[in-house]
């Protein structure tokens, strides 16, 4: 289905709701943290767009900056962070917006769900009350209307007997149910963009499958754009329309999902894909691909490929000149871009 025609018109994949105009547009986003040991560059010149109804996955390993990117979109970073660049949500600039303004936007047009639902829910209030609170805060509806809307939302996210569940406390629900409640809260105000930071990492596989189905379904049905932060390539393969691969704070490759898995160009992407045991593969069939070395912590972003020291194809050029994220092939819309001087697809460079 999705991505089966990777070369052209990637935008057509992203549901009928797509207008070709992004709801969320991130340009040259950079984040630097001040720490005791000096400044640390966590995100460097990250740009991407998300359209309505589209699921964009941001993947990478710990320390790649994917979570920092997610937090910076809604202004959730601590004061020690310096954010530059531009984040446009339907034309509204979020970088540099006041706390008051951001609070109004978060939970309304921009919603978050996190890995561990228990820490995001208040244990002393019923789930219904927590959803009602969000609705009344952002939409100023009456208590009664909010309550019936809460039941609707619980129904929407597939919670059985929602009229009863609405009066239960978070501890009375299982992990999967709690994550559904979190999704219901996030959807309460009909957000344009839902940022899901490792939403299924804490869940069992059988529960994860149901939550992923729910997210995909909601994105298509409500036209919500989803930014999915994950380390799990299986999750990406399952529900993402497009993928952004991050390494050491930079985007190293971005492509429609099928295209990325079929023809990865950056050597970090190929390494990552080769590291996962695929179905039917045995240890006796050969070793899994390893990526030697560690992710660097950078104080300044060098004019070089930050993956060069771990890359099997690196040359002097990689160490002295930063590869650009290759230009768009399609005017108006990006198809497959990668920041590599010696892409895995081009044989003469290997």
């Amino acid at each position: 289905m999705l991505g089966s025609q990777p070369q052209t018109g990637g935008g057509k994949n992203a549901a009928a709701a797509s207008t070709g105009r992004p709801v969320l547009s991130v340009r040259d986003l950079s984040v630097t943290f001040r720490t005791e040991e000096g400044s640390v560059s966590a995100v460097d010149s990250v740009s991407f767009d998300v359209e309505a109804g589209e699921v964009l996955a941001v993947v990478g390993e710990s320390g790649c900056g994917k979570s920092v990117t997610a937090m910076s979109l809604g202004g959730l970073l601590p004061r020690s962070a310096t954010v530059t660049g531009s984040v446009l949500l339907e034309g509204t600039e979020l970088v540099g917006a006041s706390d008051r303004q951001l609070r109004g936007i978060r939970g309304d047009d921009l919603a978050y769900i996190f890995q561990e639902p228990m820490t995001s829910l208040n244990p002393v209030f019923t789930v219904g009350r927590q959803i009602v609170e969000v609705l009344r805060l952002h939409q100023g509806v009456s208590a009664r209307a909010a309550k019936s809307r809460a039941v609707e939302l619980l129904t929407l996210v597939g919670i059985p007997s929602p009229a009863r569940r609405v009066d239960e406390y978070p501890h009375q629900l299982s992990g999967g149910m709690r994550q559904r409640v979190m999704i219901a809260m996030a959807l309460a105000c009909g957000p344009k963009v839902l940022i899901a930071d490792e939403p299924t990492t804490a869940l069992d596989v059988t529960v994860q499958a149901a939550i992923l189905d729910l997210l995909r379904d909601l994105g298509k049905r409500l036209g919500t754009a989803i930014v999915l932060i994950t380390h799990d390539l299986g999750v990406v393969a399952d529900i993402a329309d497009r993928v952004v691969v991050m390494y050491a704070g930079r985007i190293v490759e971005t492509a429609p999902t099928q295209e990325l898995f079929d023809a990865p160009q950056h050597h970090y992407t190929t390494g990552l894909l080769g590291a996962v045991p695929t179905a039917g593969r045995r240890a006796s069939d050969g070793r899994l691909q390893e990526i030697p070395g560690l992710v660097p912590v950078l104080t300044v972003q060098p004019d070089a490929c930050t993956f060069a020291e771990r890359c099997p194809a690196a040359s002097d050029r990689c160490r002295t000149s930063r590869p650009p994220l290759a230009p768009e092939e399609n005017p108006g819309r990006t198809v497959h871009r990668f920041a590599c001087w010696h892409p895995a697809g081009s044989e003469e460079d290997r």
Binding site: L2, E61, G158, V205, V207, A210, D217, H231, V236, A283
Partner: protein, 353 residues
């Protein structure tokens, strides 16, 4: 009842001398914590030199089984035999000679190494405790050897755990577990806390070491792709009991128990085309509480094909089609339900694909 099927291809058979006895035999293992019935009658057998994966979701009791095997927990009832010796009832003193038969690697490399000790002291601790190696020098040599076996340089012995990355710490953990040359290694989610590319290197390492050193391994995990990569045999647990057990290719190629089928179909494949073409089983609800497990087959509350008998009668593990399976609906000739073909639109979130 269940050990009868252990005549797996390539396993030594013959008289049960300690040398040929299986590395691990569990007989009707039960572990209750007060009202919580974490493990409820598990029997399994790991032959020498083979890798047995124990898979299941949270609350299945798989880690509790591991902790009973290494005697961190005192089982409520049942028998644990290590290399032919029943160690269930042994006193601390009598147990000591058998401690070297088994080692354990834990999930979180951040908490499994004492931050106050050097890597050398950590890896050397089993030798000291088990009184292996006669001199300090001999022990230091064995430590250096163990470190080199796991791909670290011997100079690492001088360092402290916090000076190493997560993957390196997990290597130290593995070196510590293998320095006493155990017959059985219990690996409790050894890769779950690691990044994808580091996971690959640890899996490679375990595969290499297992091939070279020939220890048996009880590989406890929820990561099914790692299981397929590493394991010879697979045992699937659900709510404290084994539901299916047998050679890897049978379990992965042709699972019989509906839960196994659902579990295998739920784990996403890292390949969009295959993943999206798959028929996935969506189970109803969540795992019930182990305090009050459902009667009959414990999976009956979530099973898409359960019949009345499943609620009233506990299914026994039976040897069918080359594996043991506990399901009333699987016939003796190996035919049975395939829940992957059953329409499971039981809740509103299922989308027609």
């Amino acid at each position: 009842m269940s050990t009868s099927s252990a005549a797996l291809p390539g396993t030594p058979s013959g008289d049960p001398t300690p040398e040929s006895a299986p590395a691990l035999e569990l007989e009707d293992l039960v572990m209750h914590f007060g009202p919580v019935r974490a493990v409820d009658g598990v029997s399994l057998r790991v032959e020498r030199g083979r890798v047995m994966a124990l898979v299941g979701e949270s609350g299945s009791g798989k880690s509790t089984v591991g902790r009973c095997v290494v005697r961190l927990l005192e089982p409520t009832s049942g028998t644990v035999r290590l290399a032919g010796t029943d160690v269930t009832a042994l006193s601390r003193r009598r147990l000591r000679p058998h401690r070297r038969d088994v080692s354990i690697v834990f999930q979180d490399p951040a908490s499994s190494l004492d931050p106050r000790l050097t890597v050398g002291d950590i890896v050397g601790e089993p030798l000291r405790l088990l009184r292996l190696g006669h001199s300090r020098r001999e022990r230091a040599n064995r430590v250096a050897e163990a470190l080199e076996n796991v791909g670290l340089r011997r100079q690492v012995a001088e360092r402290y755990p916090h000076e190493m990355s997560g993957g390196q710490r997990q290597r130290v953990s593995i070196a510590r577990a293998l320095v006493s040359s155990p017959t059985l290694l219990v690996a409790d989610e050894p890769t779950s806390a690691l990044d994808v590319s580091v996971q690959a290197s640890v899996l490679n390492l375990l595969a290499d070491l297992q091939r070279d050193m020939g220890f048996a391994c009880l590989f406890i995990t929820h990561d099914l792709s790692a299981v397929e990569y590493l394991a010879d045999d697979v045992a699937v647990m659900y709510l404290g009991q084994l539901v299916e057990q047998g050679p890897r290719e049978r379990i992965f190629g042709d699972p019989k128990m509906p839960y196994t089928q659902a579990l295998l179909s739920a784990a996403p494949l890292a390949n969009p085309r295959e993943q999206r073409a798959r028929q996935r089983v969506l189970l109803r609800g969540d795992i019930p509480s182990p305090i009050d497990p459902p009667p009959g087959c414990r999976f009956n509350t979530r099973c898409p094909v359960a019949v009345e008998r499943c609620v009233t009668e506990v299914p026994a593990l039976r040897l069918i089609a080359g594996r043991q399976v506990a399901c009333h609906l699987v016939h003796d000739d190996g035919t049975g339900p395939d829940v992957r073909l059953v329409e499971t639109s039981t809740s509103s979130e299922t989308l027609p694909r």
